[in-house]
Assembly symmetry: C2
Homo-oligomer: 479 residues x 2
């Protein structure tokens, strides 16, 4: 076993988990643990090295953050591919979609950690019994048709039910302009396939969702970042760059942006649409989580203002409902319907008909609406607890934006304090957080932290933020 | 309504459906029916024009064949995008993936046609009750976990069950090298994303599956066709081209190829692998339908011979089982596992966990194996009926290859007879067939027809092939 080469010294001033991180990192960089290698389970390695499991968990987390390994729920941690051994600095600048896309399982129970990293609702919030009922109803009603090939655009009754739902949100929609897809990530991939060719420019907010960056890069597109401010995209920055680059596509999240939680003001929504129109760009609006907007007068999605058919509206039904269901839709300008359909078709023919039929019934019966209302109540409480705890326990120099809702907060640390070091130190103390660096396509500033309350109950939120406050108050060591 | 400009003349020598085809085609080419336009339902247009519905069906089919419209099950027919108004000749050469990918519904009952075009099993062959049982069992067992995010590589127990299944087919496999995907089309798309960049070369058999062509073209890859012979790919052709082009990928179907039904000899399998090794190409083996190989000593898939890890094996579980389920897998060389996982991840995060868990149980309980055995019995009878009827009723100059099984036969017409005209004339007489032109990436010869017996019972097969025989015997008019 390779791991005999790792020497841990409990007398050493360097924390044990950092020593273990260094040892494993060296083995990976030297190619002794090659990519795809399954690392030993936490308890096994802990037993072998004579340390407690928390030390191994922290070392693995740090390796994952820095891109040396990646973990998969239910499977374990694997050595990642290390392309051309980038420097630490370059490494920090690489977006790591894994951080966002493959959530860690909630760890409260197993390791005693407080999880502020995971952004998915825990399994016990998912509405199993209701969904089982509609599944059975669909199978009894549709028989073999539930398993035949579907219309590639999507099951028509579901597209109609979605149009009705959208009208309730202030968006005019027709079933003929709705494309059913297998989750939001596929929506981004399909829009990229439809609109972007090798060398085309695409604009994103900065920071943004790493999965979008990955999909655009996979098309060979060039990404130009536009600074994100707390009332939306930086309009002068957008205007200057759109004139030079003439992007085909602008990818935005106008309501409760991921990762910042910022929402666009009405003025900025209209300015964005005006610029897109003048420079003939398509806007892809990813409605990440507007169901959890708990502000008094939430603004409708950008799509509601889209008078000249320039916005593709992307919405996942499964993200906070049933992430593993893989169901989302695109509402498109009519002239893109056929092209997007073709891209969907060449990607995977169609989305599971059974899922579509069951969700159709779920929506028509109003069970979805009831479920969302219940989830909102739970998260409203956690949201309020989080904001109050941040106000009470975090040093005043830490800037905490108050999002309009959602599942996360975005913290800006004072100048000179490294967010990555804070995250590492917090992990050593049993707090899991996500460093902001993962969300910047490049030149990532090391001063942001995303704190998620998706899987953490109010009691643990208070306890965790108090701990974080203490850590930040003694943050001179983290400079 | 635009359609008033269409004048049909019953006295005219040209068949009514051809007159209607010409009228609609002109409206489309003139841009009066623009792309995405939903054509009126068959009965409505028939009523409006005072013709019988069969005339409209035939005209629509002809428009579809020639790429002017496309139809979607349950939704209707739409005007297709007509890029730069290609000539008839160019049009004939364009692959139309729709033909293959979006099957028409079985038309026997509704229009009196005999359907030799559809390649999907009819809904009444799908094992609904068994599947419902395993779905319920999974929901009761796994609760919310069935709807949580899945490991992007796939549900581990399913990957393990697949490894066991593959070992029974003579293929060594480990769960760690299996990637679960949402149907075979996604497998091709993901492999293309993983291995092909803009301008790379990929080899395909000629003819081949149009959905693969579309996925490769979407990556900006250049396609080089290798002639397909009745014992497999043309080895001297492959050898000459592989030396010049150095393709990254060779896409093949070694058992019961689509559309020809040809299977590779053992010698050609080994030659292909040897050349791929010498010129460092990866082979993507699409195991299209080997479960329906009814020959006495069926050869194992190419992957069983793959001693130096050069073959990616692609297999759909849903194609003849439950097409709308969207479930397939890739078995990969270990060094591609992480790259393919990343591509899957950026495409749609993961395949539906519920589907994976249910199918896992379905496989473990042996229900899948029983279902395939039942389907084999049904198709063996149709296969034998089809071969016997072709021998009895088709002119000796029509070359009918005897496939080892599957759902289709491939007919080569005598020199000088246009397959497209035969297909058109057959449609006018109520026989739906697929012209071979759709399966050639370019320079499509107009002399092949694919005849499918997937949705047609033995009685209708005999009746239909007798009719086709008569038509071909009087084929001088089709030159």
């Amino acid at each position: 076993m390779n791991f005999v080469s790792i020497q841990l010294n409990k007398e050493n001033k360097t924390a044990l988990y950092v020593q273990l991180y260094d040892g494993l990192r060296e083995l990976i960089l030297a190619g002794k643990l090659s990519y795809g290698f399954l690392l030993p389970p936490v308890r096994k390695l802990a037993g072998f090295l004579g340390v407690n499991p928390g030390t191994v968990v922290s070392a693995y987390k740090l390796l994952e953050q820095n891109g040396y390994i990646f973990s998969r729920a239910g499977s374990g941690s694997y050595v990642a591919e290390i392309p051309d051994l980038p420097t630490e600095e370059e490494q920090a600048a690489l977006p790591d979609p894994e951080v966002e896309l493959i959530p860690s399982p909630p760890t409260d129970l197993t390791t005693g950690c407080i999880d502020f990293a995971t952004v998915m609702p825990p399994p016990d919030l998912l509405p199993i019994d209701d969904f089982k009922e509609v599944l059975i109803e669909v199978l009894d009603r549709d028989k073999g048709n539930a398993f035949s090939y579907q219309d590639s655009q999507g099951f028509l009754p579901l597209r109609e039910a979605i149009s009705v739902y959208l009208k309730e949100q202030g968006i005019r929609a027709q079933a003929g302009n709705v494309q059913i897809i297998s989750g939001a990530q596929q929506g981004i991939d399909i829009v990229a396939k439809t609109l972007l060719n090798f060398g085309d420019y695409v604009f994103t907010e900065n920071p943004t969702y790493p999965g979008a960056i990955a999909a655009f890069r996979s098309r060979g597109a060039k990404i130009v970042e536009i600074t994100m401010q707390d009332d939306g995209i930086d309009i002068p920055d957008l205007e200057a760059k759109i004139r030079s680059f003439r992007p085909k596509l602008i990818y935005v999240m106008a309501n409760i942006q991921n990762p910042t939680g910022f929402s666009y003001s009405l003025v900025k929504r209209n300015r964005l649409l005006g610029l897109a129109r003048r420079y003939n760009a398509i806007v892809l609006e990813d409605d990440y989580i507007s169901e959890l907007d708990v502000s008094n007068n939430p603004l409708a999605p950008l799509k509601a203002l889209d008078r000249d058919n320039r916005v593709i509206y992307l919405k996942s039904f499964s993200k906070i409902f049933m992430p593993g269901l893989r169901l989302a839709f695109l509402l498109m300008p009519p002239e893109l319907v056929t092209k997007v359909l073709t891209s969907k078709h060449h990607s995977d023919i169609s989305t599971s008909g059974l899922t579509q039929r069951a969700f159709d019934l779920y929506l028509r019966k109003g069970i979805w609406q009831k479920h969302i209302a219940a989830v909102r109540r739970i998260y409203l409480e956690r949201y309020q607890t989080t904001l109050a705890a941040m106000e009470a326990f975090l040093p005043p120099k830490v800037v905490c934006h108050r999002p309009h809702g959602g599942l996360t907060c975005w913290l800006a640390l004072p100048e000179g304090i490294s967010a990555q070091k804070v995250v590492q130190e917090a992990q050593a103390q049993g707090l899991l957080l996500t460093p902001g660096t993962a969300f910047f396509p490049r030149h990532a500033p090391d001063r942001f932290i995303r704190l998620s309350f998706a899987v953490t109950c109010s009691e643990a939120i208070v306890q965790g933020i108090r701990k974080l406050g203490k850590l930040l108050n003694s943050a001179n060591t983290l400079r």
